[in-house]
């Protein structure tokens, strides 16, 4: 039975709109919908270039609508959080009066039976507009545009940029080897997998040998020591970004396990300030107590499970000039 982990990535991107889409968005704040002249056609929304030839279009804007005709539509019965409306609605191609091409937008029609090709619709504007396509909440049946809430007027400055909050939730299958490594970590065991072909040992539930391109099953499992030596490290000055968890310089160390060829990469260090980390430092594994257990595991993350990181054990440093080369 494959287990899945659900993850969400969210980021507030910024879009530079350029001169044409920027003009379109600025007009939306004024409750105007602009098209652009492209030879005999009026393209809505406006494009910067002729979609057929790639030729630059002169910035000849044409106001269209506000009402238009539904050319085609599809019903969204169960909207997701990312849809424009929180109840069922239609996505429709609406050819606004004066436009040659249809605009894709939502129509709030109540039921699919209320939708039809040739249906006349007009925009329902948001009272407070910021120069985004959802300044038009949706289109509604009829010829007259309406505004929801208090109208706060158009933008004082031209709109040149747009916030775009992107979010994606995805499910990753957890390989059996990763689950077995995590389970072993609960018993404070550090599990490795020895490749039967090349003899290399992989830790962290990596159930394959990338050198020989073979899977490593439970029959390859070996217990690894809990003591090792820091071979190399990174001291990272955190750059701030949405979702950053760090504010102070932090260390990620590479730990060579005693008597093995195994590197535990990008390891968290404990009670070891950034200015004291060095090549050759002896360290012991630190395991979470049951009280410190979290669903996400310890400080190392992923299938390292209860392994929180590594702490200096007080033994004398190892002086070996080749240690620093052991990053992988």
């Amino acid at each position: 039975m494959t287990r899945f982990i659900e993850s969400t990535i969210t980021f507030p991107y910024k879009r530079s709109l350029g001169p044409v889409v920027g003009a379109f968005m600025t007009a939306l704040t004024e409750k105007q919908i602009l098209g652009i002249r492209c030879q005999d056609a009026v393209l809505v929304p406006p494009m910067e270039w002729d979609p057929a030839t790639g030729a630059e279009l002169p910035h000849e804007f044409v106001e269209v609508g506000p009402a238009g005709t539904v050319e085609s539509w599809t019903w969204v019965g169960t909207p997701s959080i990312q849809h424009p409306l929180d109840h069922s609605f239609a996505f429709a191609f609406i050819r606004l009066d004066g436009a040659t091409t249809p605009l894709l937008h939502a129509v709030d029609a109540g039921t699919p039976q209320a939708m039809s090709e040739g249906m006349r619709v007009a925009p329902r504007w948001r009272g407070s507009r910021e120069g985004r396509i959802d300044d038009i909440i949706c289109f509604v049946r009829g010829e007259a545009a309406e505004t929801e809430g208090e109208d706060t007027g158009g933008a004082t400055d031209p709109v040149t940029r747009m916030d775009y909050l992107a979010s994606i939730t995805y499910r990753n299958p957890v390989p059996e080897a990763a689950d077995r490594a995590t389970e072993a970590s609960r018993e404070h065991r550090l599990l490795g997998l020895r490749c039967p072909t090349c003899g290399r040992v992989y830790a962290g539930g990596r159930g394959l040998c990338p050198v020989d391109a073979i899977e490593l099953g439970p029959e390859c499992e070996v217990d690894l020591p809990h003591t090792g030596t820091i071979t190399n490290f990174a001291i990272v000055t955190p750059v701030q970004y949405p979702g950053q968890t760090e504010t102070e310089p932090f260390v990620r160390a590479f730990v060579l396990l005693d008597g093995t060829d195994v590197i535990i990469p990008y390891s968290v260090v404990i009670e070891l300030p950034a200015d004291q980390v060095k090549v050759g430092l002896r360290v012991d594994a630190v395991w979470a107590s049951p009280a410190e257990e979290t669903e996400e595991g310890g400080g190392m993350g992923g299938s390292w499970g209860s392994l929180l990181g590594w702490i200096p054990n007080g033994e004398p440093d190892i002086d070996d000039p080749d240690l620093v080369n052991r990053i992988f």
């Binding site: 980021f11 270039w49 790639g54 750059v239 760090e246 080369n325």
Partner: protein
């Protein structure tokens, strides 16, 4: 295996900046594309296929921008391809474009690469959207530490590369960073970011694009006859290796050595240090210059830093490296690799302007990506038989 001769006949790039808030993605790439077309004296109608490269979609949060950009690039009704090889992508994009021409499938292919870093955040994207991102600087710092220890290089080598590339950038009108008063003292005094890498030893975050027009032998000869020298592609190669396994050496990655050997064999280069006149190497952090000089056979093992120290890699030296200012001066990530390839081409075309290396006949452009895992390189020449 010999392939039909093909060449670069047009090169274009944007003025790289921190933020190009005045243009959309399409507007940005078109600046580079039309400069390349003008350079080739061509129009979009002359292009048979378009190959686009950029960093992973998480950088700007646009899925499959190659599809969204097809009309901006005049690719409607034509083949359009996207290349994904992390930081090396710009180089691989050029190689894929050249391969289409070499294969005889298309006569003239446009290679385009871009990044608009101002729309997202590179550290976020490199950290797969999680906190505590190492970023590229954090990922490469251990490799640099290993290089310094095994070569015994003095610490000022990193500072010298940082100064050299910024001085070169002052001669390149398209370069992003223009630090008029750059000096060893200034680099040394800049904040430590990822020990031993300081702020001024690191690449900037740029918005920018690059485009290259590659055409067949007849097209290249016609350009030459018209007084517009082409850059003949003598050989190209891409190689990759797994991200990690016990014993992997990121300072001399097997993929880099294989990529170099493949290009040199294909181009008939037997003594890279003597036969290559200038190199555009992907150096986002200063110490990568000596590391790649060695991995790409331009210096003996352990001696790359000496070519920095004695001025060999300066613009007036016998092997100028990154005469354009390199990635240290402009880093629109997806485009950075293609910029290396394009600048190498311009050098052998004699079209590099103020940062031209006198008499350059053979140049290499090199890009790498991910955890020192993906490598792309081409060798270009002012003629098909540059070694006589």
């Amino acid at each position: 295996m010999s392939t039909p001769p093909v060449a670069v006949v047009g090169v274009g790039q944007t003025h790289h900046k921190s933020r190009r808030l005045d243009v959309s993605f399409g507007g940005l790439v078109r600046e580079a594309v039309f400069r390349a077309l003008d350079d080739a004296q061509m129009s979009l109608d002359d292009i048979d296929a378009v190959v686009l490269g950029k960093a992973p979609d998480l950088f700007e949060g646009v899925m499959k921008p190659e599809l969204y950009l097809s009309d901006a690039l005049g690719a409607v009704g034509k083949p359009m391809f996207r290349v994904h090889t992390a930081g090396s992508v710009g180089g691989t994009t050029a190689i894929v474009a050249a391969s289409h021409v070499q294969a005889g499938k298309h006569r003239t292919v446009l290679a385009v690469a871009f990044e608009k870093q101002s729309e997202g955040n590179a550290q976020f994207a490199l950290g797969s959207g999680k906190g505590a991102s190492l970023g590229a600087g954090g990922a490469f710092a251990p490799f640099i530490r290993a290089y310094i220890q095994r070569s015994g290089a003095p610490e000022h080598i990193g500072w010298k590369v940082a100064v050299k590339d910024r001085l070169n950038a002052l001669k390149n009108p398209y370069a992003h960073l223009k630090i008029e008063d750059i000096s060893i003292e200034k680099v040394k005094a800049s904040p430590m970011m990822w020990e031993p890498t300081r702020f001024l030893e690191s690449c900037p975050s740029s918005d920018g694009a690059c485009a290259v027009v590659i055409t067949d032998e007849a097209g290249a000869k016609a350009a030459a006859a018209d007084g517009r020298p082409p850059a003949w592609i003598l050989a190209s190669s891409s190689r990759s290796e797994p991200s990690s396994f016990p014993g992997r050496d990121p300072v001399r990655p097997a993929a880099a050595l294989q990529c170099a050997a493949d290009v040199y064999t294909g181009a008939g280069i037997t003594d890279p240090r003597r036969q290559i006149d200038t190199a555009e190497l992907y150096v986002p952090f200063s110490w990568l210059e000596p590391i790649w000089l060695e991995a790409f056979g331009l210096a003996e093992v352990g001696e790359g830093w000496k070519l920095v120290d004695d001025g060999t890699t300066e613009l007036g030296g016998s092997l100028p490296v990154n005469a354009s200012g390199g990635v240290l001066s402009s880093n629109p990530i997806g485009a950075s690799g293609l910029l290396r390839f394009a600048e190498a081409a311009n050098q052998v075309r004699g079209a590099a302007g103020e940062h031209q290396v006198d008499g350059a006949k053979v140049a290499i452009g090199m890009a790498y990506g991910a955890n020192n895992q993906y490598f792309s390189t081409w060798a270009v020449g002012s003629s098909l038989q540059p070694f006589g």
